[in-house]
Amino acid sequence: MSVAADLGAGRAAAATVDATTAGLRRDDRRERTGFLGLSGPALFLLTIVVFLPVGWLFWLSLIEGGELSLAHYARIADATHFRIFWTTFEISVVVTSLALLLGYPVAYLMSQLPTRWANVCLIFVLIPFWTSLLVRTYAWLVLLQRRGLVNSTLVDWGLIDAPLRLVHNYTGVVIGMVHIMLPFMVLPLYAALRSVDRSYMTAASSLGASPVRAFWTVFFPLSLPGVFAGSLLVFILCLGFYVTPALLGGGRVMMVAMKIQQNAGIYFDWGAASALGVVLLVVTLGIFWVIGRLLPIERLFGAR
């Protein structure tokens, strides 16, 4: 009799233990879902405004006359579009290169200056960065025109006889875009260069390297992650850029983003617009993915 009671009590105790263990697991799950749930509202908004529309565009690019087809893609595989892709790519490469060539020295100098002076330079970089894109583009419109400041100065100094055609063309677009992109190049570069340990250069010097040699063999390689980060950022931004080419190109420079806008906003040709958009998106994501394999770019964006 007592054995059965003992067994019963034992089983009841075991059941309580199991209940607690199960309860603990439940508590754990509830806590995790709670935390993930906090990101719910933000993700919901993004789903409606970003994921859904982009997905839809993907879908649209594959539908022609009510059925699945690659007709839209076929249409954009012609000479005109090829030129647009080429122009976009070319300008992006040119602008990125110029931004790097001009931005690296500035970032380097800033990283070597005492904080006080570096912050002064930083202000010179931040003010345009915080100024509206339109305002800056407008400023270039003013500066580069026939009787604008640049031409007037060049003529006054006797460097040229007739004003140069600096705006409403390829040149204007490049100049404008370099100006917009420079802060995007300088800021990550500056952060990366600042974190290079100075004692490496001291070591190189003590080992017999001349300043120039020390720079190229020690400092520059260490700065490469920053160079990649900045260049990647700028290149990607250039690929999809719309405002500056539209305003400074005078209609002579057609980049992908402008063509997309034309198709969607003016012709309501969703098929062509979405096909182009998909191509641009795939190229952008592709570049991110490739570089992402080589470097931890998520840290650029603050992920853990």
């Binding site: 020295p105 070597q112 509206s132 906003g265």
Partner: protein, 269 residues
Amino acid sequence: MLREPASETQISHLSRLWLYLLSALVLLFLILPTFIVVPMSFSDSRFLQFPPPGWSWRWYESFFSSAEWLRATRVSFTAAVLVMLVATPLGVAAAYGLHNAELKITRALHVLLISPLIVPIIILAVGVFYLYVRLDLVNTLTGIVLAHSALAIPFVVVTVSSGLKQYDMNQERVARSLGASRFTAFRTVTLPQLKNSIYAGALFAFITSLDEVVIALFIAGGERTTLTRRMFAGLRDEVDPTIAAISSMLIIFSVLLLALLQFVTRSKD
């Protein structure tokens, strides 16, 4: 002085003179356009000459007496404030939630939250336009606020996430051990210490909405034309010199905002 060493490698200032000159030129290049606009806005002439032939307030008068410009300004600022109020809590909650969840899926979710920064904005704009046409949200304030908030959330998430990384979560645990529920601990201990990141994020959200052009071109027209859209049209068609005045005011406004941010966050870096 020029022959003195300038760095760890003992290179002299003289040998680096080209670096100083080049940098000075680049910095000048960067700042010049911003500042050219201000004197331009006081120009007397309709044509974009520099230096201006005469000085006057006319373009400012033109702005303040134009019902369309004023309405566009109102729309832009209202939208920007609303975007700041929507994106900031959503972004803070998301950043906090992901920071504490510690699951494998959080990385993927983090990438999703930042995706608007990665996707070229023209694609977002066309997609949103297409969606809004179907939902009848084109040219509505709601539409603008929703679209801009989606664009602003990544900024808030990034700034708050980086603030959280430097924050010692143990303090929340201590608060809880002392008797505070999770939410109370967050509210009384964590939130006050995240102030700087949150202000920075909120400011980014505000500016992102105010300066946004491409999406506005598609969905912010008619009664709800934003300042940026109007300016864009003005720049493309016939350059209205009023834009010089508006630009000048915008520059001063953004410089003030930047200074405000520095001031408010001066206790920490």
